[in-house]
Point group: D3
Chain length 250, copies 6
Amino acid sequence: MIEAERTPWTDVAGHLGRTDAPPASRLAVLPFGALEQHGPQLPLGTDTFQAVHVARGIALALDAVLLPAVPYGDTWNNAGYPGTVSLSASTVAAIALDIGRALAASPAPASGLVVVNGDWGNRTPLYGAVRTLLQEGFPAIALDYPGLDAAAAAVRTTQSAAPGLNHADELETSMMLAIDDTLVHPERAVAVYPSFPGDFGTTPMQLHPFSPSGVFGDPTAATAETGHRLLDATVAGSLTVLTDFLARLP
Amino acid sequence: MIEAERTPWTDVAGHLGRTDAPPASRLAVLPFGALEQHGPQLPLGTDTFQAVHVARGIALALDAVLLPAVPYGDTWNNAGYPGTVSLSASTVAAIALDIGRALAASPAPASGLVVVNGDWGNRTPLYGAVRTLLQEGFPAIALDYPGLDAAAAAVRTTQSAAPGLNHADELETSMMLAIDDTLVHPERAVAVYPSFPGDFGTTPMQLHPFSPSGVFGDPTAATAETGHRLLDATVAGSLTVLTDFLARLP
Amino acid sequence: MIEAERTPWTDVAGHLGRTDAPPASRLAVLPFGALEQHGPQLPLGTDTFQAVHVARGIALALDAVLLPAVPYGDTWNNAGYPGTVSLSASTVAAIALDIGRALAASPAPASGLVVVNGDWGNRTPLYGAVRTLLQEGFPAIALDYPGLDAAAAAVRTTQSAAPGLNHADELETSMMLAIDDTLVHPERAVAVYPSFPGDFGTTPMQLHPFSPSGVFGDPTAATAETGHRLLDATVAGSLTVLTDFLARLP
Amino acid sequence: MIEAERTPWTDVAGHLGRTDAPPASRLAVLPFGALEQHGPQLPLGTDTFQAVHVARGIALALDAVLLPAVPYGDTWNNAGYPGTVSLSASTVAAIALDIGRALAASPAPASGLVVVNGDWGNRTPLYGAVRTLLQEGFPAIALDYPGLDAAAAAVRTTQSAAPGLNHADELETSMMLAIDDTLVHPERAVAVYPSFPGDFGTTPMQLHPFSPSGVFGDPTAATAETGHRLLDATVAGSLTVLTDFLARLP
Amino acid sequence: MIEAERTPWTDVAGHLGRTDAPPASRLAVLPFGALEQHGPQLPLGTDTFQAVHVARGIALALDAVLLPAVPYGDTWNNAGYPGTVSLSASTVAAIALDIGRALAASPAPASGLVVVNGDWGNRTPLYGAVRTLLQEGFPAIALDYPGLDAAAAAVRTTQSAAPGLNHADELETSMMLAIDDTLVHPERAVAVYPSFPGDFGTTPMQLHPFSPSGVFGDPTAATAETGHRLLDATVAGSLTVLTDFLARLP
Amino acid sequence: MIEAERTPWTDVAGHLGRTDAPPASRLAVLPFGALEQHGPQLPLGTDTFQAVHVARGIALALDAVLLPAVPYGDTWNNAGYPGTVSLSASTVAAIALDIGRALAASPAPASGLVVVNGDWGNRTPLYGAVRTLLQEGFPAIALDYPGLDAAAAAVRTTQSAAPGLNHADELETSMMLAIDDTLVHPERAVAVYPSFPGDFGTTPMQLHPFSPSGVFGDPTAATAETGHRLLDATVAGSLTVLTDFLARLP
């Protein structure tokens, strides 16, 4: 594994130029995060830290190139909380598209781009960017934490605030405890289970009217052990999903 | 000083909500870097590390909010070196514009945005983004290392490869030695003084035909002490330029 | 209920101008379909016919205004079959955005826009258009057949070809039999259960390599009765989801 | 003739794949309408119904593929009447461009695209879209009812409200009587001959200040017989204009 | 009349600031031309020279502000002749839109913008730009030589090459003789009457296949006297069309 | 040298078709100006007149093709003075890009494009346009008066108002005296030396708060002789910079 930001270009060129290495080792892995509120107990960069952790695990397993994380994303629905700084959807797509095109056009092109997405709002624009890259002939894929849901069902001890909504809850707090507990304030954690209207999840809504603290669920049950199990399962799930993608690399 | 990425939103809200603090403390400081070749002796993230260092110095002096760095930029003219990953100019502008607009529209708006630019290619798009933000009524400014040139003239022991071209040379290598010498490979440093055509600097040109290693100047003369003097002068120069900008903040 | 395309403007103005009618009656309901292959047994307009049927049911229940259907959508993943004619995602979004803005700017504005989406590929662009309309202050929502999945689980007699993939199968063939059996060729129906790679559903893929006929599942089990139950459940599910949306209308 | 929306893809593929058929039979004919006020006596979809009628006549004569109509167009100048729902010019162009490109990129490409335009405001954007398709090598043409003016001069019994302005008048009311008299309310027809400023027809103007009812001319003179003669002449005129276009098809 | 390009800003400010002058004197008149082939006998700037002449006549009559001419336009259909340099339609629109917006936003705003268009291909984009300016509340109009056709019918001695096609023929050559005969090469003038396909004038076509010289019609009959009559009639026709536009100025 | 606007296309075609002429003679030289306030003593078209003068000098020296000047530019920072009419940056870029692409796509393509820029605000967009043209394979360069600064240092008798700011001062007034003294009002010239904030030159600022007259420096010292020396030096400096550019032409 090679961490691009901390490495001279000549070493990256050497890594990409090995003729005896599998195509997977020439993949570029891009963590895509956000600067988004995660309750009083978690830092604004939570999505970024988690995406970096998972991306690093994937890059390690494949001996691939880890790119520096994009620490901003489309977090429109959290814009009502101070500290959240959201990109527009088109900018998120443009970043991923530019990075993919740069990798493809380089004199030592990567074999493909794996985006590890840590923010719900990035899903739509990243999907569009990946589709464009594929149409242009460059292998790309965006992962939204495959394996996490199944693992969460097995390990979580508290309910989610709404179907598919895991935000500043037991899951995310556990993962941050596992990644870096100096960034977590467990003593501030308070469960919040808002009541939602019937079209929540169907139509776009700002989240701040539903939870003044920004917590959705019960972070008090979080443990680092739970976090490690979730993160490991996400890395493993990502590698499973990637199996056939890697097999198609030229 | 508050480092947004590592801080819960409630603390950022508290910082921004202090009624007794000067407007400068509600500034957001954004380092804008690049993933760009810097010779065999410096890491691809050199521009980002330097911008972060200077931005942190500014944020510390003003007790302001430090935003996470954008680790990609418009490095089109270095695209011929493997490992360089360039954004398009329009994407660089869109990132800065989105961030400025998000800061302005927040329920606890920052008093302004100071972009600390670490990459030559970002100058044009950042200037455009700042102009748009100003037209929209949000105080913004992009700094291209004010004070660096004057300090360099005083401390450098070797010549630049061309007027205004400081790339992977004594200056940049010195600054990286000062920031984190574990990322520098001094034993690989070799001076390169290419011969340039008469319209170099006037018309856009790719750099790789002029220096196979990516060095432009003499990095062998670099020292951490020189780096510290350059960085300190850049922080000081930035604060000087900001004086009247700060005085105009509402 | 008023069918705009077949009605003079003066009648629409009268309908929208009733001061004693509930806001829901001033909604505009827009079916959004596609021209997309649906196997040898179903017409290319299947998505449009289904969206019109559901939209009409909603408009009838609310005494609202039914808009003419958009008979094209983003069906990129079916572009490998002759006869499919796909719009780009940005065009789908632009159509919905223009229609919403026209409704909002009219001298007799609708109270809101309900988009009834009949095509999977339209989800992303319609979501973006709805978000923009909401940011502009106009009530809007896009429905992706709420209630259909639950009803399908109860009535279907054959399995889906992949999780979430219902295309030219028992469900869609049943619904078309219920809507207009003169458009269905049951004698051509043949079950197809392709084998998919592990990243199917994660990364964008063209469908034609997996099923030469365009069928995904088993259409031979389709009946009009099943279709009626699915369509009725979808109209009912839509009205349920809309309850709180309607309650928020000004 | 094959009506795409009501036909399975396999039949369309068979039609397009006939090696013994003339290129004209592989044309796609696209009616482009509008949702636009047409006085108290005609439905909002008048432009669409007329375009479909003419397009069907052309497709029948050429044994070509009839596409589903686009029931919205750029009707900016009628936006002051409730019920009108206008697209922007750029969206109209994007729809035609996307459809043309999809036809050209299909595994069984159409031989060309004939747009039958029913709405004055669509002229400009459709012309631009056609020009782009031609530059990309795909035969395309947009028809604005060739033959109609000459036929109208022969059969009309009342004057037009202004040169080139036929809106909800004898001509349009006659054509709708011929197409579907259940959609016409003759008892509401009242002649309106507004007085226009000298720059009417030169600079863009909203129409509602000039005619509160939306009628421009004298619809009371309309007859189905006149309508049939106008429509037949328009189909014939279209086929005449297409003669050399068809001869150039590859 | 004031010629902006040759005048200091203080004089323009004085002209616009007169409180006793009619609104028409605060109009800005913009000639919009093209760099387009006009046969071997006329210069590439013919459209520009003619638009300037007419615009100057209008500005003189109204004591208005004459802006410098845009000497490029959308001349796509003449791109097959060397020397033609065409803008895209979107650029033509952007120029007119920017100029109108600048006039409206100035501390001494013009009362409106009159575009005098000299190039057929500019019609569509200028119309769109004017419509946008009007929607933004700024009076604007684009003139396509009103009065020219009627005058031409009276004075021309030769036929046009096709309906509505006056290019490098008797009319244009006469007008250039009247404007500046040193730019005309009458000895090179040769009549060309191409044969056109039936869809000429309906679908966009390049002109060079129809006339190798670029002449369409008979320039040999041109006289300066004819040119003066055409130009005078165009100025007079423009002022007639403008009468009600001027009356609406605030 | 050939002046395109005043020349028939056949002569331009002949000039470009000479097989014995050097590539430099097939260059197109484009003056890019502005309509921008230049104090009470100089006309609004000052930047255009100067750019035309220098461009003509270059075209004469190379026997190249002189294109008509673009008389508008991005002069945003002078928009506070009546009479200034500014284009947006994107429009400036689009004009240069369209012109370059038209030259490259012509049946008799120019060998390259030399833009002679007369307005500070055009620098950024012209640089971007040139970069795009180069990426597309068409030789292009934008010149910002090379040689002027050195010559100015030698001949000026008064100081500049700020580093790099030469606006309606001794230099510009001298050059206009040399170009056409009938356009200059020396009796109105008054020196203005504003006091600027510390971030002037770093962040975009409107100029009118600093100088009510629009003068920045001392125009009273201007002479035609100084102007001629500056203009001659700029033409010479341009040709020097172009030497290697010309040598690379194919």
